[in-house]
Amino acid sequence: MSDLSVSTVPGQGAAPLARRARPARQPALRRARTLQRAAFRALPWLSPLAGLLLWQLAAECALVSEHILPAPGRVLATLGELSHSGELWSAARISLWRLTVGLLIGAPLGFLFGLLLGASPRAEDWLGPSFRAIAAVPALGWIPVLILLVGIDEVLKVIILIKACFVPVAIASRDAWRAVPARYAELGRVLGLSPLRQLWRIRLPAMVPTLFSGLRLASGQAFVSLVTCEMLAATDGLGYLMVWGRTLFQMDLVIVGMIAVGSAGIALDRLLRGGERALRARMGDDG
């Protein structure tokens, strides 16, 4: 493979040069590098720390009433109490359970519907506009009507969440289908693959990146809808914990709820990202 051997020549030529330059610069350079790396790692923590500092300051100077903004230490204590008593975990468990059910039902349905919209111009013509109209009404806009129809039980939350997952996944699947390069579709035909094989071996793998961003969007939206839904119409879950704190005027409870929701949101996104990375690594993509 001479086109390979040719490409390695400049690399070999450059190596001695770099080695010669290194000893003189190394200590200073290394120190600068370490500093830079540390700065980069600290960067994401900078704004939360500044916020925490401001918060502590505001509490200490009694700028705001303790009933409205309790001190960080107080919130921390409440967090400890709630997690020790298990209240926080049971609330989180219920919320995550609802989210999982919503994702497990809503995402596959949305995926299939999105494929239909993507693959069939007729389906897009017939169903597309009504789908978009339904999608434009936020999940929470359905609560008043749904409460009257199905009551305030678990079914209500599940329906809201299914809807919240269904819409972004359907849109992402439709777009992903349309975004598959025509060259790949043509290849499937030229190779004489059956339609099912073209779908399974060419279309779906080509759709993976777009699908995953849709799934992440869906889980984010579903989570937001879930918490709001629990605040409006529930007797348990993280959202309810926050509402409960507000009614009792225990702002530390509310803030603990906010921390829990934020952390769960990050964890969920990380989980999906990890899944996507694992899948793409299996498909030979290290990007």
Partner: protein, 257 residues
């Protein structure tokens, strides 16, 4: 059967709308390809040479005329021919081996047979060491070799090539042409190659089909009586080059070389 052509194209016409105006890409095109023959189709852009290849590959349906491979009319893609595109068109999420094996999936064979056949053709194009590499890890020439392995592995009698070396630099292109001839001699396939490179046509083909645009039609078929292996700097070679240049040049401004 021995004397009947492998590919016969007759009276093929095709138009498609370009900006709402029907564009006549092919008008009454006919040609025949014998077994174990290499035909090069050359012509200026817009002469319909790629449309002709796409019709033979079953990717386009002609408005009229007949296309048959080994006497069987072409009705769908992937029937009786394999295609090498200008871009290698390897699937980025599959290794070289995966890409070649994918082409074998429609064939009735066991997984073991599929693996063995893929390995044989990957070795044929000299990529054995890169069978587990992904397309983005390959150079342009290596990727195009993998694409050729994928087309040959199906073992159809007819291989269609649409400017297969057009994206490669001239040194690599020359070497790939030599390799292609080596494979062709060993494997007894018939090749129809569309190119805009007159030298490529002269180096590879038994016959050169010159097409002209407006609407696309076959202007001339030139039989190349050059012995193989061919040298690019003989008198006969340059004479034929001059002839083809003249045949292509509808008006002096449209010379393509």
């Amino acid at each position: 059967m021995k004397t009947s052509p492998l590919l016969s194209v007759s009276g093929v016409s095709k138009s498609f709308p370009v900006n709402g105006v029907p564009f006549r890409a092919l008008a009454d095109v006919g040609l025949e390809l014998r077994r174990n023959e290499i035909i090069a189709v050359i012509g200026a852009s817009g002469c319909g040479k790629s449309t002709l290849l796409r019709c033979i590959a079953g990717l386009e349906t002609p408005d009229s005329g007949t296309l048959a491979i080994a006497g069987v009319p072409v009705t769908t893609a992937g029937q009786g021919s394999a295609v090498v595109f200008q871009d290698h068109r390897l699937l980025p999420w599959l290794t070289v081996r995966g890409n070649v094996e994918l082409a074998l999936e429609p064939l009735a064979m066991t997984a073991a047979e599929r693996q063995a056949r893929a390995a044989r053709y990957i070795a044929l194009v000299g990529l054995d060491a890169f069978a587990e590499s992904y397309p983005r890890q390959l150079s342009g020439g290596m990727a195009q070799r993998a694409a050729i392995a994928r087309a040959l592995a199906v073992e159809t009698d007819l291989v269609l090539m649409d400017e297969p070396f057009g994206a490669l630099d001239s040194i690599l292109r020359t070497r790939m042409q030599e390799e292609l001839l080596k494979i062709w001699r060993a494997h007894q396939v018939s090749i129809l190659i569309v190119t805009h490179d007159i030298e490529e046509a002269l180096y590879l083909a038994d016959r050169v089909v010159v097409m002209r645009p407006g609407p696309g039609h076959v202007h001339e078929v030139v039989e190349l009586a050059l012995p193989r292996p061919r040298s690019r700097d003989t008198e006969a070679f340059s004479q034929l080059r001059g002839h083809l240049l003249a045949a292509l040049a509808q008006t002096p401004a449209e010379v393509v070389a």
